[in-house]
Symmetry: none
Subunit: 418 residues, 2 copies
């Protein structure tokens, strides 16, 4: 099944916004055993019409993102109508749901928004609980120009992603029909570099007949995706785990923070965070997970030294003698957070995010991570993540969450008598 | 001058690699007053031939990246030769420079690399000091199929970027000849919906001759981009500001948190945050900005009620009587943060992120935001952001940062006697 992706949006071509849809859809389609044959980006406005007209002649499925907004340069609906030779009419259900969206937010719907309820005759409306633009599915039989199924989807990820799961995936499955869906295993590995994973696994995985391997690296984690026959996937999975079982935090596409919150909740554990260089990112990632309130009780962002002293009881002498970025300060921050909060575990970070503040002894990227646990010795690890500010914060939060995950796993192993 | 970009590489479509070439080239071209009319990604192998053939018929300039390597699926050279009807011959200078590249590294050149010295007759070789693949420039007059200039460039950024500066930019300047450089204004507006911006501005901006308008919406903010003649941009900018001057937080593509940190640092103001429902996101956004340590001293993530009481002095009676998500609790959190930290301003948020915990009186999405200032009455605003957890946290952090921005602007206006 030949699939083309069309992204509309002048901001994607003016260099102001990075187009992440190509990668994201490539990943989603790969999970279904499907591939992208071509991806095209055009500016807002007329260009989508020509690009869509070309795509439907080449492809079996054309997936368009963007251009469904209320303004004059949002003309994806009109383009699809012209290309398929179908008339646009107002869809009552879509209009109701638009009105409800505004009503729920106590706002009046602008007249321009009304055009967002227009749909080619015979097309299907894909509901959008997270925005005003409903998606549209135009089945192949309605397409005057070619035998191509067309999806019109909103551009913003927070609207696109849920619609993809709920509406697009089932339709793609049925469109791909006889295409055999491959077995899939996805192993998420924390705190290991992509090149190390390649170095360690590539040659061995390549020898497994009928196995396709995909990697997806984010900062501080790598997903290894295995697709193929039942046996091939099983053998590949065993190979990955033989090298990286300790790094593997999920085989169910969970985020690291989801795993930490779920496991701590399962064990009835309470957590406190004390952050300097990450500035609240660890707590923020944890509280992205529904139900985090059952686990995280207290968090501190002790950016100033005075805050470390007054809030967490860090010794002024140690601050003066060793500096804020030091082993004793990380230790005292973690222990202070544990003591003040009454939690079972506390994690503390203090480091140099940069761009300034580094020394030859403690260069930019240096961080001390403290892990305090009720009734156990506090552990402090020193790490170096010489990256830009965002990258540094992300790596330190990742490493901290992974330490928490390992601590909970260890506790679980102990309490079950292992 | 109509420019199309073609990127080749299967990894870009399998979701393993993010395609950053589109954004990067968009930025580079914009600096020259040029735009990208279309960007296309195709897998390695045959697909580039069809895509290039289509592009040269539409565009004045086609810029291809990737597919210049030594392997069998690197066929960009062959595709360009076929599309333009020119023969490939071995270029002696290119071969010498290839050999020199390997020699310098003490490696023997593999026979496959020799094909990298092949160039269409009459094309120009663009030297690549950072890799084995030389670039190729095929001027329009050589193009059999259409009057389109073609650049074939290497994919890896470390090879592409220097070649772009040294070889591509001068040629683009001469190709674009008399094209006038466009003026650009970008106004970033906070806490206003995209549809409200359209409703208010579209009709008026459309009347300004020679003005192109682009919008880019993120959650809680909209960029309005104006491109055109000097006068048109000036007039458009004035029109935007006549409606949204209070919402406009940057005309220099700064983030809201950058503006808050910069302005507070300029006024020597210290800040504390007290977060419940945002779980540290406000502090984390602020600390994404280099130099945030000059501004943010203390942050609390008082997720548990007990933390609100013990850390910020929130009244247990008020928590019991009004609930954690209430006006008095937001007020006391802000005032507690101000008192304990000794800062000049403190912002506090308490709300219901969901998916659970809503009531008919306080539905999911309800939030109280408190702003405490030294020597002034504390202000608490109640807002409703009924979104998913990520969206809710983002909107509340956005609203909080915008309140801080306005408070600093107000202070600046007062102290300058306005």
């Amino acid at each position: 099944m030949k699939i083309e992706i069309l992204n509309t949006g002048s901001e994607l071509l003016l260099g102001t916004t990075l187009n992440t849809h190509g990668r994201w859809m490539g990943q989603q389609l790969f999970k279904l055993g499907l591939r992208v044959a071509r991806q095209t980006t055009v500016p807002d406005g007329d260009a989508i019409r020509g690009a869509l007209d070309e795509a439907v002649r080449r492809a079996d499925v054309a997936i368009v993102t963007g251009g469904l907004g209320p303004t004059s340069d949002d003309i994806t609906r009109e383009a699809a109508s012209a290309v398929t030779g179908t008339e646009l009419i107002e869809d009552e259900a879509a209009l109701r749901s638009l009105e409800a969206f505004f009503e729920k937010r106590g706002r009046t719907m602008a007249p321009d928004n009304r055009k967002q309820a227009q749909v080619p005759v015979g097309a299907e409306v894909l509901s959008n609980p997270n925005g005003t633009a409903p998606g549209i599915y135009i089945p192949p039989r309605l397409n005057g120009a070619a035998n191509c199924a067309i999806f019109l989807l909103p551009g913003p990820p927070r609207e696109l992603y849920p619609m993809w799961e709920a509406e697009v995936v089932p339709k793609l499955r049925s469109l791909s029909g006889g295409d055999v869906l491959a077995n899939l295993a996805q192993l998420s590995l924390a705190m290991v570099g992509e090149s190390d994973v390649h170095q360690e696994l590539d040659a061995d995985l390549a020898k497994i007949a009928g196995l396709e391997v995909g990697y997806c690296a984010r900062l501080g984690e790598v997903d290894v995706r295995l697709i193929g026959s039942d046996d091939a996937v099983k053998e590949g999975r065993a190979r990955v785990l033989s090298s990286f079982s300790e790094n593997c935090f999920s085989e169910a596409a969970e985020s690291l923070e989801q795993v930490v919150v779920r496991q701590m909740a399962e064990h009835g554990l309470k957590l406190a965070t004390a952050e300097s260089c990450t500035g609240g990112l660890i707590a923020s990632r944890l509280t992205d997970v529904p139900g985090a309130s059952a686990v995280l009780t207290h968090g501190w962002v002790t950016y100033a030294n005075e805050a470390k002293v007054s809030q967490l009881g860090v010794s002024e002498t140690d601050l003066a003698d060793h500096g804020a970025v030091s082993e004793p300060v990380a230790r005292q921050m973690a222990e202070g957070a544990l003591r003040v909060s009454g939690a079972d575990l506390a994690v503390a970070v203090t480091g140099i995010a940069g761009p300034d503040g580094g020394t030859s002894e403690k260069p930019v990227g240096t961080v001390f991570i403290g892990l305090a646990r009720r009734g156990r010795e506090t552990e402090v690890s020193r790490q170096l993540h010489p990256r830009d500010r965002h990258g540094f914060k992300r790596m330190v939060s990742q490493s901290s969450l992974d330490l928490l995950r390992r601590a909970v796993a260890e506790k679980a192993a102990r309490s079950s008598g292992l």
